[in-house]
Symmetry: C2
Subunit: 201 residues, 2 copies
């Protein structure tokens, strides 16, 4: 059999993955506006024609990268959360926060997900992508917490937005702080304060 012979779908998937991977690295390092399509296709070892065949434009490629990053993040957060599942709502939330702050050492998360994301694809679509991943995760945890009587009954969606906003800001705050260890401890304390505020007296 001929090793070089590959199906169309395989070829397509390969180049698509190469493009998303290359774009992810470059966007993380230099931001969306700072990297041209030429640099991306060179990094991915494909042609510009391939890029514009796979994606409608540069923004759509970014959206794919965003989805990719979110998928990684939500997978890792889910691990951290489920590891603390037995310890109750506050423990689950706090271990997710710790894991999140850990993840945010990587520039992918900061720049692609938090800084450029809203601006490039628009806020609504940004949060929609977020919704399909980590925001949905939070909402599940909140529902379980309410079912278990650990969280005061209230609308889940706005609450989840507020919580994720705190987490996002915490990540950027820690990243920008001169002493990240101190900043991190402070932000964890603030987060704990807010999370415990949800527990009925």
């Amino acid at each position: 059999m001929n090793v070089k012979r590959r199906t169309q779908a395989e070829r397509s998937a390969t180049t698509r993955i190469a493009l998303v991977g290359a774009a992810r690295r470059l966007f993380a390092a230099q931001g969306f506006a700072g990297v041209g399509t030429e640099a991306i296709v060179r990094e991915a070892s494909v042609s510009r024609g391939a890029l514009y065949h796979q994606f409608a434009d540069k923004t759509e490629l970014f959206a794919a990268v965003l989805d990719d990053v979110e998928a990684d993040v939500s997978r890792q957060l889910a691990e951290a959360a489920s590891a603390a599942a037995e310890a109750g709502f506050v423990a689950v939330m706090m271990s997710a926060v710790e894991a999140w702050l850990e993840l945010c050492d990587q520039p992918d998360i900061q720049r692609i997900l938090l800084v450029d994301g809203p601006s490039v694809v628009g806020w609504a679509r940004w949060r929609e992508i977020c919704q399909r991943h980590v925001l949905g995760l939070i909402q599940v945890v909140l529902e379980q917490g309410m079912a278990a009587g650990e969280v005061a009954r209230q609308p889940i969606v706005p609450l989840s937005h507020a919580l994720i906003a705190v987490a996002d800001e915490a990540a950027m705050y820690v990243a920008a702080a001169p002493d990240s260890a101190v900043a991190r401890a402070e932000m964890v304390a603030v987060a704990r304060q807010f999370v415990t505020a949800l527990v009925p007296a």
Copy 2:
């Protein structure tokens, strides 16, 4: 005296103000990347040379616009807060939140301040500009609250960041919601929950 004769500083200030005003309108409507310098100078009735004399580049012009918007916001928030100053910490914070959500009907705030801001000038500088205006305001209120025993003693800076993050997210959430009245009420409730959590038992 000759009416047409004007000092250099006056001329310079006039064109600068015209540029910032025009850029503010256009950035608010179409985003930073969506509007070219040509459109800006046409709207401002000056030449491109004037723009690049006043500002190092397009990004610096955006930074000036950002500062302008922040100044407006902080002024109006300060009014709202001081109007409720007698009613104590929670009332001050909540009236500021109400005023904030009211302000965020305008696209200036949403797009320039919340969406494009971090991406265009970078997160650190974005928050630094914010610090000089509304973030500093929050910190003053928090300090007063702590001094009056209405707020639990804790590091002020990270807490102020967390609070402003909730406010920002609330604004975008309300703006994107199909029924903004409901979304607004929900977000106010969430905010109140967090703010009251700061009051010692």
